[in-house]
């Protein structure tokens, strides 16, 4: 089933890339989105079944695939607006959509992968495809950021490969001949703990470039500064989910061995350091999208803390991931509109947004309330659960340190937001030919209300999915 989807999307993507007509691009994009949603729903109906030896419809994969479907619809819509406003040529537009479709396909392959080698190869493919999209604006800074992104992600992926290699060495010693995850879980107790520790550490370092955790988080920050806003939305959310999924798979392999306490301590340290780095670097930030990128770093650090805490923390980590995806995406979509008005991303140039665009300003306000985990946002629920898990499992100092750091972050972000919304409009700003449709912000309101609804009163299939995802850990 998935193989058919991949071949189908490759054909679609090639046709978009080669034919370069606007109507065909529109039509094929809509067909692609429909196909992807169909795959998600199909995967949900066939949950926990193997599709082929390399793919399995795992619960976490289904959940993240739903998120991907919803966000890809929104991203395609906002990309359409972005490209229309920037008046790009037909060839560039076709390249953009083709790359975006291939990126979504690669991410789907990474979500559903059952085999570590397939997972690794899909993550590698996403790196390459996303760098095409980051470089889209062809400026000098974009070149610099893309080069750094490509290079450091490649080095990170090489380290992750060494980690997988060590894992396969111990697995090969115990008789396993392929890298399927369920096979690795079944022989996990027999594997040498030293090798498991080393391979986990290397995989964590390597995939932290994708997820945006402490060692290699810098590339995502630079990438965010130069990418078009819809792509920034994609990178911040679904691509970080891919990184999380890769780390999570390896975490499930070691979950029932004797090294689980050490692994959770490592995750706690990494999470704490991520939040710490985010706090420090946020004090000096002057650029809007960089600010949001550091906010993503902070949230991913909190997710790592949830994984490191254990117990209810597992549930809360996945919840946090989903909510963060929706909230951060709507933030970035709104940033596209902000750029339309002010033509700049520097914080000092942007102020008085409420007067210029009341609906947009309202959406920014709700987004920020959401991202700072203030109730009724769903992120409040997940962060509350994570802190509860930290206190229950005897890590009070970590929790207190993170709470203090979070208060600094809230202060900084709120300061910049209030400057954005309520300060005076900068003098000499001309905004006559700004074509901003009020109805564009509907997508963000939809996403935010989804976050609130899922946080306060989640439907049963949602909680079942998450519980199914963490069942292998208990």
């Amino acid at each position: 089933m998935l193989l058919i989807f991949f071949i189908f999307s490759i054909i679609l993507c090639l046709s978009v890339f080669l034919l370069k007509k606007k109507i065909i691009t529109n039509l094929l994009s809509k067909i692609f989105l429909a196909a992807h949603s169909f795959i998600s729903i199909n995967a949900y109906l066939k949950i926990n079944q193997f599709d082929s030896p390399y793919y399995k419809f795992d619960s976490l994969a289904v959940l993240l695939s739903f998120v991907l479907s919803i966000l890809s619809v929104a991203t395609f819509y906002h990309s359409y607006l972005y490209l229309k406003r920037h008046k790009v040529s037909k060839r560039q537009e076709a390249n953009y959509y083709a790359a975006l479709m291939m990126l979504i396909t690669a991410m789907t392959s990474a979500y559903f992968a059952e085999n570590l080698a397939v997972l690794w190869a899909s993550v590698e493919a996403t790196t390459l495809l996303v760098s095409i999209l980051i470089f889209y604006e062809h400026t000098e800074e974009a070149l610099e950021a893309t080069w750094k992104y490509l290079f450091i992600c490649s080095v990170g992926i090489a380290f992750a490969f060494i980690g997988i290699l060590f894992l396969s060495m111990t697995a090969g010693n115990n008789g396993l001949t392929n890298l399927s995850i369920s096979g690795l879980i079944s022989i996990a107790k027999l594997m040498d703990p030293l090798w498991l520790k080393i391979s986990f550490l290397l995989a964590l370092t390597g995939f932290s470039a994708k997820m945006g955790l402490f060692p290699l988080h810098t590339v995502a920050v630079d990438a965010h500064t130069v990418a078009p806003p819809p792509i920034s939305a994609f990178i911040s959310t679904t691509l970080m989910n891919v990184g999380f999924l890769a780390i999570y798979r390896i975490f499930t392999i070691v979950a029932h061995t004797e090294i689980i306490d050490w692994v959770q301590n490592v995750l706690l340290i990494v999470g704490l350091l991520s939040v710490f780095m985010a706090t420090i670097q946020l004090q000096r930030v002057n650029h809007f999208k960089r600010m949001f990128a550091f906010s993503s770093l902070e949230h991913m650090g909190i997710v790592a803390l949830g994984l490191g805490a254990g117990g209810i923390g597992f549930y809360a980590a996945i919840l946090h991931l989903v909510f963060h995806a929706f909230t951060k995406a709507s933030l970035f979509y709104q940033v596209g509109q902000i750029h339309q008005f002010f033509k700049s991303y520097w914080i000092k140039d942007v102020s008085g947004y409420f007067k210029l665009n009341p609906v947009g300003g309202l959406s920014v306000l709700f987004c920020f309330i959401s991202i700072l985990a203030i109730p009724p946002s769903g992120l409040f629920v997940s962060e509350f659960l994570i802190f509860k898990a930290l206190f229950i499992n005897n890590h009070p100092f970590v929790a207190i340190a993170v709470l203090v750091l979070l208060s600094f972050i809230i202060y900084t972000i709120l300061k910049n937001v209030l400057h954005l919304l309520y300060d005076d409009v900068p003098v000499g700003l001309n905004f006559e030919n700004v074509k901003v449709n009020q109805y564009e912000t509907i997508s963000q309101f939809v996403l935010l209300s989804l976050v609130i609804y899922l946080g306060i009163n989640p439907p049963l299939f949602f909680t079942n999915l998450i519980n199914g995802a963490i069942s292998v850990l208990n």
Partner: protein
């Protein structure tokens, strides 16, 4: 026989620390590909014949011919002649290579547990750590790519330790990595060279807060 290749591989790493010309880097990478070909030929003879021939061909074609040819094209396009003054003088780099060799030797003897093919671990770890060191001390992004390829060669050596059990998967992954890395990185180097008219990394430092 494989010990000969281990010695030769370590000597090429020392020559990497010693040399300063870009053409020599490419030449050394080709020689490393040849050495790896010899290593594969003499060690992986327990797997069936088709996998064996495929891995041999992949090593000799990709590592010895395609990658150096591609890097040569990039070098000519950007007119790179030599590496001006790395951050650490060459004399100390050679001492550092020896220190890395000894550290990786201690590391591999610590990790040794006797039932795996760990004869290559020493040079593999040396290669990986030295590749990282190489990336750090050179100021040119072409040298960054060369350092990445040194890391790749080290990973290839490591994968030979498990290659007798799971041959195809591991080596296909390496193949993908090298192709994508060199093609895309090579294309981007040309783009960076054309935009900035130079490949020094000090031009790539504008993105700051």
């Amino acid at each position: 026989m494989t010990y000969l290749f281990i010695i030769l591989y370590a000597i090429t790493l020392i020559y990497f620390a010693l040399s300063e010309r870009t053409k020599k880097f490419i030449w050394l990478l080709a020689i490393q590909g040849l050495i790896l070909f010899g290593v594969v030929f003499f060690s992986l003879n327990e797997i069936d014949i088709f996998d064996f021939i495929f891995i041999l061909l992949e090593t000799i074609i990709v590592k010895t011919m395609v990658v150096p040819w591609f890097l040569n094209k990039v070098r000519k396009h950007n007119q790179l002649k030599r590496e001006h003054e790395p951050y650490v003088p060459v004399f100390y780099s050679i001492i550092v290579v020896i220190l890395i060799l000894m550290v990786s030797f201690l590391l591999s003897s610590y990790l040794n547990n006797g039932n795996m093919h760990t004869q290559y671990f020493t040079v593999a770890f040396t290669s990986i750590i030295f590749g990282g060191y190489f990336i750090i001390i050179h100021k040119n992004i072409f040298s960054n790519v060369v350092g990445y390829l040194i890391i790749e060669n080290g990973i290839f050596l490591l994968s030979l330790a498990v290659g007798s059990v799971m041959p195809i998967m591991v080596n296909l992954a390496i193949l993908l990595d090298i192709f994508m890395a060199v093609l895309i990185l090579g294309l981007f180097i040309n783009r960076v060279g054309d935009t900035f008219k130079s490949l020094k990394t000090e031009y790539l430092s504008k993105l700051k807060d």
